[in-house]
């Protein structure tokens, strides 16, 4: 096991190093900070951004929007997904709506949201619409996958409905909720930043990227991108950590 992890770490490190090397090669070939800045100057830019006074407001607001969109889609997605999983009729009814939301280009949603909402709300709305169908579908799939034998067993032993929900359905659906949340978050962060670039709220990573791009500050665009990637990565880790703690029964044998 330990050997395996070490090998995995080496491969991960090799992959990161290869990306950095390619970046460096491209920077040397193009030899222009307006096209591709050098990795090391970009990392210095990251540090500069992290220490400047406006950073917390920009990153904080983006994270807040992400969390708001995630909670909104998470709560509604779990509730509606559960109902859809239990009632086949409701599932048939809701499926065309979910398919529509999922098929509409994100940019169309943004263009409409720009008309309907204020700049700070647009990214939250977009994040909600992109994440919600994922969580909803995952939860309803999860409910349909609940072992009916276990439900029957619980009913047979006269376990009340509330405990059948908390003791059988919810734990069974948990892995589906987590995997839904994980894939939704990946798309959600991207949607938030696109939303911010186009809606230009006062504070936000997207706003800062857009400003940097206007001044042809490629270094800052990439630096903010790296920060966005780190935030997304941190939340992914958070979800995985939650998964390990919540679904420890799967680790057995």
């Amino acid at each position: 096991m330990r050997i395996f992890i070490t090998k995995k770490n080496i491969l991960t490190a090799a992959s990161v190093l290869l990306m950095l090397a390619l970046w460096k090669v491209l920077a040397v070939v193009f030899n222009s900070p307006f096209i591709i800045p050098h990795p090391e100057t970009t990392f210095l830019a990251v540090i500069r951004i992290l220490t400047e006074p406006g950073f917390l407001a920009a990153a904080g607001n983006t994270i807040l929007r992400g969390v708001a969109g995630f909670l909104l889609s998470g709560i509604l997605g779990v509730i509606i997904g559960m109902v859809a999983g239990i009632s086949p009729g409701f599932n048939t009814f809701i499926t065309p709506m979910l398919v529509t939301v999922r098929s509409v280009p994100v940019i169309s949603l943004i263009l409409l949201a720009l008309i309907w909402f204020n700049p700070g709300t647009v990214p939250v709305f977009i994040a909600f619409l992109t994440m919600f169908p994922f969580i909803c579908t995952n939860v309803s799939d999860g409910i349909r996958n609940v072992d009916q034998g276990l439900v029957e067993m619980a009913r047979f032993y006269r376990v009340d409905n509330r405990r059948i929900l908390t003791g059988v359905y919810i734990p069974a659906v948990m892995p589906f909720i987590i995997s839904g949340a994980s894939s939704a978050m990946g798309i959600g962060w991207r949607a938030i930043i696109i939303g911010e670039v186009l809606s230009q709220p006062v504070y936000g990573i997207g706003t800062r990227m857009q400003t940097a791009q206007t001044f042809l500050n490629v270094e800052a665009v990439i630096a903010w991108t790296l920060i966005a990637v780190l935030i997304s990565f941190a939340f992914e880790k958070l979800i995985r950590w939650g998964e390990v703690n919540i679904i420890q029964w799967k680790a057995g044998s």
Binding site: G149, R163, K250, G252
Partner: protein, 235 residues
Amino acid sequence: MSLQINNLSKSFKTPVFRDFSISFPEDSITCVLGPSGCGKTTLLNMIGGILPADEGSLEGFEHKVFSYVFQEPRLLPWKTVTENIEFVLNRELHAGERKKQAARLIRQVELEGFAGYYPAQLSGGMRQRVSIARAFAVPSDIILMDEPLKGLDVALKKNLIKWFLDIWKSDRRTVIFVTHDVDEALLLGDRIVVLSRAPAAIISQISIPSLPGNRDTDRDLLKTIKEKLINDLEK
């Protein structure tokens, strides 16, 4: 007093039971032996009250508490052995009482060292032992068993029957055990009822004099009974 089913009828697309009557003496083990698909599970479900009968009456089953041992152990994968047993216990019991009760049954099936294990960490036989412990943990009057030994190898079957009888002897309940396996019925039953194909009718009923669990002594008698049962099953 005995539990009595009178003139029971039940049809799905075709009739499974038609004017069927059977009785179960209390605190004894009745094995219902029949070919696959003769309606054994349907019978248990009607007795357990999760499936209504079309016609007929069930007497003596009112206000009874049931336990069920299924073909698969049906343990919650996200709960430990202890938690799985506590899950079915009445909430009116104090949490400490539930814990004590679970621990007592875990001791009886000799799984003390595994109380905190998840089902995935146990072998198939151990899981079925938990399922048996769960059935006895509930203060039930009747234990319904739906081929709980199907698909297990012979050594494991004998072992599980031993666990089951050990507990049963100290805590007697009415057991209704359905199976298509003659050997299981012979090892376990006080009384064996042979059913025909659907619509099910009783072909024969045999009471076995010796106590289940100590049957190695009268092999000759068992052999005769076995031949008769196999013969009846083929009718």
